[in-house]
Symmetry: C2
Subunit: 255 residues, 2 copies
Amino acid sequence: MLSKNQIKFVNSLKQKKYREEHNLFIAEGTKIVPELFVSDIIVKQVYATSEFFRNNKIASTIERFEIKENELERISALMTANEVLAVCETPQHQLKMDSLKDKLTLVLDDIKDPGNLGTIIRIADWFGIENIVCNNDTVNAFNPKVVQATMGSISRIKIYYTDLIDFLKNQESSIKNQVFGALLGGESIYEKTLPLNSFIIIGNESKGISEKLLPFITDKISIPSFSHYKTVSGEAESLNAAVATSIICSEFRRR
Amino acid sequence: MLSKNQIKFVNSLKQKKYREEHNLFIAEGTKIVPELFVSDIIVKQVYATSEFFRNNKIASTIERFEIKENELERISALMTANEVLAVCETPQHQLKMDSLKDKLTLVLDDIKDPGNLGTIIRIADWFGIENIVCNNDTVNAFNPKVVQATMGSISRIKIYYTDLIDFLKNQESSIKNQVFGALLGGESIYEKTLPLNSFIIIGNESKGISEKLLPFITDKISIPSFSHYKTVSGEAESLNAAVATSIICSEFRRR
């Protein structure tokens, strides 16, 4: 049986304020939670059905609560609860510029949609990108919707929040990576040289890359469109932010 | 003022049953509706604020209803209504095998998530793919969530629903396109020859391509992963269906 306080506590973690206060986040489902058990993420509590406990070995350091499905529904952030909810410690990574040297790193400027951020984290995992640097206004990576959309990749990628202007200034005077940004009139990514010591800036879903970051971009790139049509505004049709990220990462990696 | 019957009628179009009964669908927002005005889609009614009517020229054949924002909220399918809702005729395209000859066409096998289908339609538009053939269980393309996620591309792409086994049998004995499917152990898309007279089968979000379609695949492909990790199940990490579609389409087009 779940107590009222437990229900209140777990539900509070759906809000950023309480996640930060407790330094905890929630993850759910039989696909994602077992990934966390074998990752560097510290799982504190597991709320699950008897079936989940039968099928999964749980470390003795984790507090376990066997509950019924209807109780799980009361703490779940999913449309349909799925056997298990885990409360985990939010990892705290220190952003060290040297660790980004000679690597491909994503820089997110104001990604607002949790599904997009989750998908971008999953793409980073697929393409062996270890670090994602976000501006402070990008949606919180430990938002339950983001965690779900990562399908477990959240446990394998280091995500930092910082002031991007300071960050890009610092890197210019230290590791000097190339900085790529997708912009109208940029060079086709299919033809461009794409070195591995690079930052790729991904802009906001509707506004693109902020004007204040443009001076830091060393290489303007674009994904060529093969569309037969022009839109009303006369601009080229756009791609979803996560889709654009995937095509750019694929191009960097295939060479 | 909207009548109760109007509110009921527009809201009914959020359900597939009523969309099919009336052969109508709804589209919303200042980005998408103006795209429909200049497309082949027949717009029947526009429900909009005075501001929208001030800023947009509307053909005289369209019934117009000037309403207040709080009335728009009552018929909108969006979290936040956005100036305009249009009721449009659902286009009926006849699937003719010959029109798919020498072209790149997407074949969707059981795509369930409206956001994924919308994003795939948008990707098709970007890469100049004119036709998408779906199995009958793929989510309905005129579902309001799909329409929104296409960002207007729904007006430019022909979408067909059919039995995929019959369809793939017919194409084998007529136009004989190559049939590509992303499968474990497939050849790297970065190294494979990718001809333009091809079908690309995209499988269900969790189950992949159905077993009954496998015999029709002439070319097994895969998107190489660069991940440093293995997942618990030992399988390779997966990519979201729309993301995989975008990387595959990009590879077909860049050559």
